[in-house]
Each structure stands twice: as structure tokens, then as C-alpha cells.
Symmetry: C2
């Protein structure tokens, strides 16, 4: 099969590789759409020790089961594989399973390829009326859905629910969409890139600001750098909550004195529970997260250029979807 | 009246000052015991912009109402004065009131004095059987009670409740006592000072370790320095909670990458709600927090020496109580 292989730092090669081999209980899935995530870019730049070259990246995929009794079933893929037996798995926090694996991290190859293998319990059936290009967004949307849910659960019942979302990429946009679908009416987005702000306005119906002067009860940091954490901890109201998704810089930025004196909570969030993934997929199918027509589609064979364009900030769309069969 | 006045950085003078003057609705209280807090030491060293000299420090006090119809009533003092009308006050989070005042911060003088003024709603009646030297501990114990309560509320119901308390001073010891009274059986304390560890063992029945190799679902950082936050964020289990009380250093220390990937929550905590203060006082009165006999008592007139001894680490007891009438 064809795959886009991360061969070395800043080097992606589109080439033939052995076809994905399903293990027992797994299905072979013909990938029709696979999104490029910030973490793929992070790995491409050599900044993620968890993803050493050579490796097939990509974990935001939808496609069609290619073999067996379920052949032809349209599915979106939860890429997080967990043990199902530990305390975390049994309490619905599968993302904390100590045995967790995710496609695109060894030992599992990713989905920047024509086929990928995955067990049935990680697949969500996609209704015929829903394009697979929308269904492929379930993974990044679930990341933000999960963060929004945890943040709202942590917020005191008596608090206002004014929200600030830092970052206008796919995760930030998805956080705004998730919060709105959960009943949060007043959401401010912060995005420093003017092209991206224009795209958000023209194609997503979202107003983003370059800087932030207002405060909020709930802040979602969808970037994860010192500067964004500094902004989050300066702008969150007393008693408020910061939900932190990004992995931009490992340390620093938080004003811990202010967070202590004003009783601010910081919640690290990573991926999603299996239920969050299913809930997000259902919200997509039901149209709760909007038309989701803000993606840009390119052939997987041109994937290396897509990475270069994202890196050079030449892409205004929050998400590029690659097509392994174009 | 006599008072111990913070005159300049590292300068405390015991001298005559005008007697405290109750405003309308306030009582004049004859102070019988007042504890030295880490934040008093912080101010004494010139490290707290909120407490500029000249100022009477001290906010952990118990005493006897000296005038009026309630004359003779034995009370412990909640030093936190709030507006009672804002959203925070009305929802029982008075410590987040934007108008909050605390005695020993301008415009309110503190309790290192023979008298202090305080409104009746901030006073808790102390039963005759309870010595005022124990009742004066309500304030520091309430700080830890509040942090322990918030941490337990934030912890997932399915999580274990193994606890780690960093710091064996009064706040750390009080956190261990509060957690135990709330039903947490497995508590590890960390205290680097060998004299203090020996005191905790011999006088408080608590085992503290110099270093920590084990992990915990719940960590209370009762110190608040970079190094203690680094320890907290390294030792807390996936999905766990760090409750942070201290104001040692303003920034840094947290391993935010780990906190994000392992979904760790950090909760800033400051003082207590009015209900927490009352609950803590009741727990003292009921003996739930142990004999509370681990304090050292000195005359207020010798307060400057007490500060010097604490600073030079010559005090093993977690708390010195000063007596303005000795």
C-alpha cells in the first residue's frame, strides 16, 4: 500500500510499504480521509520522543471496512487503544490507562496510509448521510469536547460560564463548537494569525480577536505554550478553571501566585474517554457542531507539501484532510 | 495597648500603640493567644507587597470579648472580612470576595496586640472545656481543612485516596489531620528538616520522610516553592489532584507536559469559606483533629526573638503562639 512515512526529522516520503495487517479482533480499514494534527507536525519537527522515525504518522481517520462480514461499513476511528481491565478503563477514564496505545505511536503505525488496522470496539459506524470527511473530524473534535466537558464539570455550579478559547486552530475552534453545543453562550476566541482570524470569520462564523482584554470563568488553552498559559492565568476569573490541551512547551507560564490567591484550577486534558468519542461522533452526525465544512482536502501523495505549508503558516484552514486514494 | 509592630524589613518592635477601636457592629476582643504564620514571616522579610510597614501583623487569634453585652465570651476569630453581598459571598466562597479584607493587611491591623476589633459574624464561640490556645489554631487548621475538602471534591469518585502532604509545618500537619478526619487513611508527609521530623514523630504522632519515592492520588503542597511543585507534579498519579496552599515562589516548578498527558488537576487554594472555618472550629472542639498540643507558647513581648528563631530554623514546633498578656 502507499503511505506517507516520517523517515527523519522534517522528512516525509510517500512510498510503498507492506499493507497493514489486522491482528485477531481487528478490521482492515480502507482510509478515505485522515487529518493532519499539531502533534503530527510536532513529531515531523523531531520534537516528540514518543514518535521516533521511521514511522507512519496520522491518527484522525475515517474509512470503510475492507474485509470480512462488516465489509463496506463506513466508520470513524477512535485511535486510542486501551486495556479495558484497569481501574481507569473500568471507570470510563480509558485515556489514563497505563497500557494506552495510539495509532501513530509505536508499536502502532498511523493512518497516513491507504489502510490501517483497528479493533471493532474502536470503530463508530457513520450514517450514510454523513460524509466521511466530516466523520474524520471526530478525533480532534473529541479532544476539545472532552476538555470542555471536564472544564464545565470542574466549574462551581454558581459560577458564570463566560468562556475564553486561546488558539484558533482545529482544537480551539472545536472547543468553541463543543462549548456552544453544551450551552455556553458567551465565548471569546484568541488567535494571533490574521489570515486564520479571517478564515474563522468567513468560513466558520466565529469571531476571533488578536489580543484579549476581557476575563472569563473558563479558559481553554488549545495551544500550550508559556505565553498562552500566562494569558490564561491572567484572564481567568477568581474561582475559575483553565483546561489545558496543548503540548507546546513543557513548563512555565502559569501565574501560580494569582492562581493560589484566587483559587483558580488548572486541568490537564489529553485525548478523550471512549464515551466522549462516541458522544462527539453523535454530535457530528446530529449537526450539533455545525456544518464542519472548514477543512481543506489534499492528496496524501502531496502530504509532504501540506506539512511544509502548515509550518510556513501558508494554510488558513484549521484542518487539512489527506486522501490516500486521490 | 501593647503591640508587636512591624516597623521595617526584619524589624519588629514591641511598643505602645493606640488601643484597637471597634467600628459599629464590631467587638473589642482581648487577645489571649495569637499564632505566628508563615505569611507573617514572609511580611517580616519584606516579601509581601500586601503588608507594607508599619503594620501590626498576626491573624490567628483567640480571646475574650472585652466590652458590651457579650463581655466575657470566649471566641476564636475568623480574620477574613468579606462583603456578604457579592456572588462569591452569596455562594459560600467568601474567600474569593473582591472586597475581602484580612486582619494584618491594610486597612486592618492585626492581632499581635493586646486587643483587636472584629465583627460578631466573624467570631466563633469557644466552649469552656476548650483552651483558647487550641481555639487559636482554628485559622491555620481551616486553611488546610479547606484545601483538603477541595482536593477530595475534585478527585474522581472512582480514584483511590492515597495522599501525600509536602511540608511538615503547621499547614502541612493540619492538612494531614484534616485528611485523616475526612476518612483518608494512607497519608505520607514530606519534611526535609530532621528536627521537625523528630518533633512530628515525638509530639504529633506523625511519621514524615525526608524524601518521597511513592506516588499518591492527592497531593497537598503546603509549601509552594518550585521544588515542592516539581515534586508534587512528579508524584501525583494519573487523574490525580494537587491542592496548592503555599505562596513561596510565584511561578514555575510544575511539569505541565506530564500534567497534560496524565490529566492532573492543580487547585489553587487560599484561606477558607466561613463554613469551613466553623466546621474546623467544631472539629477542634470535638477532638477530631487530635490533642493539638504541639504548639510552643511565648510572650508577645518576646515576639521579635520568636521570628528570629523561626527564621534560623531553631524552632521544631510547627506553631508558636504568642501571649500578649504574659
Amino acid at each position: 500500500m502507499k503511505a506517507l512515512v516520517y523517515e527523519d526529522v522534517e522528512t516525509l516520503i510517500y512510498r510503498d510499504v507492506p499493507r497493514a495487517m489486522p491482528k485477531e479482533g481487528e478490521h482492515l480499514i480502507r482510509v478515505t480521509c485522515v487529518g493532519i494534527c499539531g502533534s503530527d507536525m510536532h513529531a515531523f519537527l523531531g520534537h516528540d520522543d514518543r514518535r521516533p522515525a521511521p514511522l507512519i504518522l496520522g491518527h484522525e481517520a475515517a474509512g470503510i471496512i475492507d474485509e470480512g462480514p462488516l465489509k463496506g461499513l463506513r466508520v470513524t476511528i477512535n485511535p486510542l487503544v486501551t486495556c479495558k481491565t484497569c481501574t481507569y478503563c473500568l471507570s470510563g477514564r480509558e485515556n489514563l490507562c497505563p497500557e494506552r496505545q495510539i495509532i501513530s505511536l509505536p508499536p502502532r503505525e498511523g493512518a497516513f496510509a491507504q489502510f490501517v488496522a483497528m479493533s471493532e470496539s474502536n470503530l463508530v459506524n457513520v450514517p450514510e448521510a454523513v460524509p466521511l470527511a466530516k466523520a474524520a473530524l471526530a478525533e480532534p473534535l473529541a479532544v476539545s469536547w472532552h476538555a470542555a466537558r471536564l472544564a464545565l464539570e470542574a466549574l462551581e455550579a454558581s459560577a458564570d460560564r463566560k468562556a475564553l478559547v486561546i488558539g484558533g486552530g482545529a482544537i480551539g475552534l472545536a472547543a468553541a463548537l463543543a462549548l456552544r453545543s453544551m450551552g455556553v453562550p458567551d465565548i471569546t476566541m484568541i488567535e494571533p494569525n490574521a489570515d486564520r482570524r479571517a478564515f474563522l470569520r468567513d468560513h466558520c462564523g466565529e469571531t476571533a480577536s488578536a489580543t484579549c482584554e476581557s476575563d472569563a470563568d473558563l479558559v481553554i488553552d488549545a495551544v500550550g505554550f508559556k505565553a498562552t498559559r500566562a494569558l490564561a492565568s491572567a484572564r481567568v476569573r477568581p474561582g475559575g478553571v483553565i483546561a489545558h490541551i496543548g503540548l507546546g512547551e513543557d513548563m512555565g507560564g502559569l501565574d501560580i501566585r494569582r492562581m493560589t490567591l484566587q483559587e483558580i484550577s488548572f486541568i490537564g486534558t489529553y485525548t478523550y474517554s471512549a464515551q466522549d468519542f462516541r458522544d462527539t461522533a453523535q454530535a457530528i452526525f446530529d449537526g450539533q457542531l455545525g456544518p464542519l465544512d472548514w477543512t481543506e482536502r489534499r492528496p496524501l501523495s502531496d502530504g509532504a507539501r501540506a506539512f511544509a505549508d502548515i509550518r510556513a503558516a501558508r494554510v488558513a484552514a484549521p484542518k487539512i484532510l489527506l486522501d490516500p486514494w486521490a
